[in-house]
């Protein structure tokens, strides 16, 4: 057991393990506030590292995308440290939209692995396709599975929603505070799932490489106004029915409309179903707007050096374009 595990145990009360992957990056503030209010200690798996990646690759079916494989690795990293692990089934987080099919089947895919390692899965279904009541039901169900009453769950839900909107507002504000440096290099729009962009173990320290290669500023979806992103996404002939990917495309369209980015990099995992669609849509719009676009695909075989070279080449190309334009 790691130090974190011992510390979480010592506080007494139930401990819930949360894998630091997939939904965690989108809902970190929500989950922390929710379980704090329920007085349940949260034990996070360590940041993605090679052993987690290897474990995930071994445990998961070969054809899965890297983030799901890594999720398996994170659940394995939590085994022996806490009895229950949160693996929600996120069917839909917005009206008339879905998440990815693999998130729909996540608890079922993991059940056998968890059973073998003696973990209990906290499996709650969140399906907001027809409305928001499912959020209430899911919170009550999650609280019940860790031994808390419905009233406590509803109280916690209120706090958690506030915490989530506050953290989103903060993230958006923080991105505006960055002042341009003296030597202005290119501004890069970085698009992709939060669990790829936010996980430096998965994206092989992409942001560091961007900075080293001379990018002045990296704009991500979190730095954009969600309402405007939504509005841009609605301009497509048929709106996308995946929530996160809709935001990705909306973010790209907003960046192109505002002319804020000199180049757009999309980060996707190999075999990602929705991103095979979004990448072609974004590429099409970038080509029409005359903004350079690069698709970086990562899987467990991706080498950091190769990624670095591609990033450097892309930024060099942007620099040349800038010089020629002058």
């Amino acid at each position: 057991m790691t130090l974190a595990g011992v510390a979480a145990r010592r506080q007494g009360g139930p401990v819930i393990g949360i894998p630091r992957a997939l939904f965690f990056y989108e809902y970190e503030a929500f989950l922390r506030a929710f379980f704090r209010s329920l007085e349940v200690s949260v034990l996070l798996s360590p940041p993605t590292n090679t052993s987690i990646l290897d474990a995930g690759t071994k445990l998961c079916v070969d054809e899965c995308c890297l983030p799901v494989k890594v999720f398996f690795g994170h659940v394995a990293a939590l085994s022996g440290q806490c009895e229950c692990v949160l693996v929600p089934r996120l069917v839909s987080v917005a009206r008339r939209e879905y998440t990815c099919p693999k998130l729909l089947g996540l608890p079922d895919m993991l059940r056998e692995q968890a059973r073998l390692s003696g973990q209990r899965i906290i499996d709650v279904t969140l399906d907001m396709y027809r409305g928001r009541t499912s959020l209430l039901r899911a919170s009550v169900e999650a609280a019940r599975q860790v031994g808390r009453r419905p009233a406590q769950a509803l109280h916690a839900l209120g706090l958690a929603l506030t915490a989530m909107s506050r953290s989103r507002a903060q993230a958006q504000e923080a991105s505006h505070l960055e002042t341009p440096r003296k030597n202005p290099g290119p501004v890069i729009g970085l698009l992709g799932h939060s669990y790829l962009v936010g996980d430096s173990g998965l994206n092989l320290r992409l942001e560091t490489h961007l900075e080293r290669a001379g990018a002045t500023q990296v704009i991500t979806e979190t730095g954009l106004n969600a309402v405007e992103v939504e509005r841009e996404a609605a301009t497509l002939p048929k709106p996308l029915f995946w929530t996160y990917e809709k935001a990705t495309v909306g973010g790209a369209l907003l960046m192109l409309k505002r002319h804020v980015a000199d180049g757009i990099i999309q980060l996707a995992s190999f075999g990602c179903g929705p991103d095979s669609m979004t990448s072609s849509i974004i590429e099409w719009h970038c080509r029409r707007a005359g903004v350079p676009y690069m698709l970086l695909t990562v899987d467990e075989h991706t080498g950091e050096a190769g990624l670095e070279t591609r990033v450097q080449a892309f930024l060099d190309m942007l620099e040349w374009r800038k010089k020629e334009a002058r």
Partner: protein, 355 residues
């Protein structure tokens, strides 16, 4: 997609429009599709796109494509294909038919735009179409049963092809039924009445396009039949129409419901045919089939979920499952080797069980 074109052509003809059937999928279709489609889109998109381009070359000026509401990617394919066609300067009318349950208004408006006054012909068109769909499935199911028992290699396939042609040419319900009857009589002449002791029974589950399109799956049903396996498959044209287009009157209930049977292995729908793959595997085990073949296009999201829970079904219910993920790079020889090995394994299991 398999013999689906027969049904669609019948419906479109009855509605008073001309239908251009693209040439059968070929290497050219694949190369056209893979050239213009997004790189990691699944094989069905690439083949469909190739078919569309070939149909446009043959003179089609409108494309009819199904829509969807996710979470499977298929629901967005029409949009991507429309974009690609317009980039290629193929100026065609692109009609998307959205599913009736989630997008009734969109469906109605596109039907009105497409048909106008000819809406009144819909009932008759659907009647003929449905009869042809039933006939195609009937002929197919019989050919699966008869192929391992045929007297000469290829006899069943030849009869099947000519039966499909007869169904396609039939213009009334009675002619369709006559074509099916003729097929049944001919088939009885060319086959042995009883299966041999080495006959095994294999179920096919998976993504519907890959199952139905005999080009995409490299004729897997025929290959299995030649190896002496009777193929059982529940996912057919009529089943798809029943469960996806008009679920209300024909909903599966009770013990033959694949969605309920998938419990506890997969407790929620995952888009596409993911839950059906698991459910039909469980049902196959209950029906004492010898094994299952699970077909999926490479990177198919719902089927990957199914693929990762199927080993558990195998362990609990003792039914071997061969998952085959196919795309444009799949080699035929490799597939044949795997199928031979699988059929041999099933035979060996059977002999051990009989002892």
């Amino acid at each position: 997609m398999g013999d689906f074109w027969v049904v669609l052509r019948a419906v479109i003809d009855e509605l008073g429009m001309d239908c251009v059937v693209p040439p059968p999928s070929s290497a050219k279709t694949v190369s056209l599709g893979t050239r213009w489609a997004p790189e990691t889109a699944c094989y069905p998109l690439k083949l469909c796109l190739g078919n569309m381009l070939e149909a446009i070359d043959k003179g089609a000026d409108a494309v009819l494509m199904a829509g969807g509401s996710g979470p499977c990617r298929f629901g967005y394919y029409a949009q991507v294909e429309r974009q690609i066609l317009s980039d290629l300067n193929k100026h065609v009318h692109f009609h998307v038919l959205e599913p009736p349950q989630t997008h009734p208004r969109e469906l109605a408006s596109s039907l009105v735009a497409l048909l106008g006054r000819r809406m009144a012909r819909i009932p008759r068109a659907l009647t003929v179409g449905w009869e042809k769909a039933l006939a195609c499935d009937d002929v197919l199911a019989k050919s699966h049963l008869l192929r391992p028992r045929e007297d000469r290699p290829g006899a069943t396939t030849r009869l099947h092809t000519s039966a499909i042609r007869a169904i396609d040419e039939a213009s009334t319900v009675r002619e369709v039924r006559r074509a099916v009857k003729a097929f049944t009589e001919d088939a009885c002449v060319h086959t042995r009445p009883q299966g041999g002791p080495r006959e095994v029974h294999i179920g096919i589950v998976g993504e519907i396009f890959m199952i139905m399109d005999q080009f995409a799956n490299l004729g897997i049903e025929e290959k299995l039949g030649r190896l002496g396996a009777v193929v059982h498959r529940k996912i057919t044209i009529t089943d798809w129409i029943r469960t996806h287009l008009f679920p209300w009157p024909w909903k599966h209930t009770g013990s033959d419901d694949p969605r309920a049977s998938a419990h506890p292995y997969l407790n929620h729908f995952v888009g596409g045919d993911g839950i059906e793959s698991v459910g039909y595997t469980v049902l196959g085990a209950r029906e004492k089939l010898d094994g299952m073949v699970h077909l999926l296009p490479f990177t198919c999201m719902p089927e990957i979920v199914a693929k990762s829970v199927l080993p558990q079904v195998t362990e609990d219910m003792g039914i071997p499952v061969l998952s085959l993920s196919l795309d444009e790079h799949t080699g035929e020889a490799g597939l044949v080797t795997r199928l031979e090995a699988f059929v041999d394994l099933l035979r060996a299991r059977r002999e051990v069980a009989c002892r």
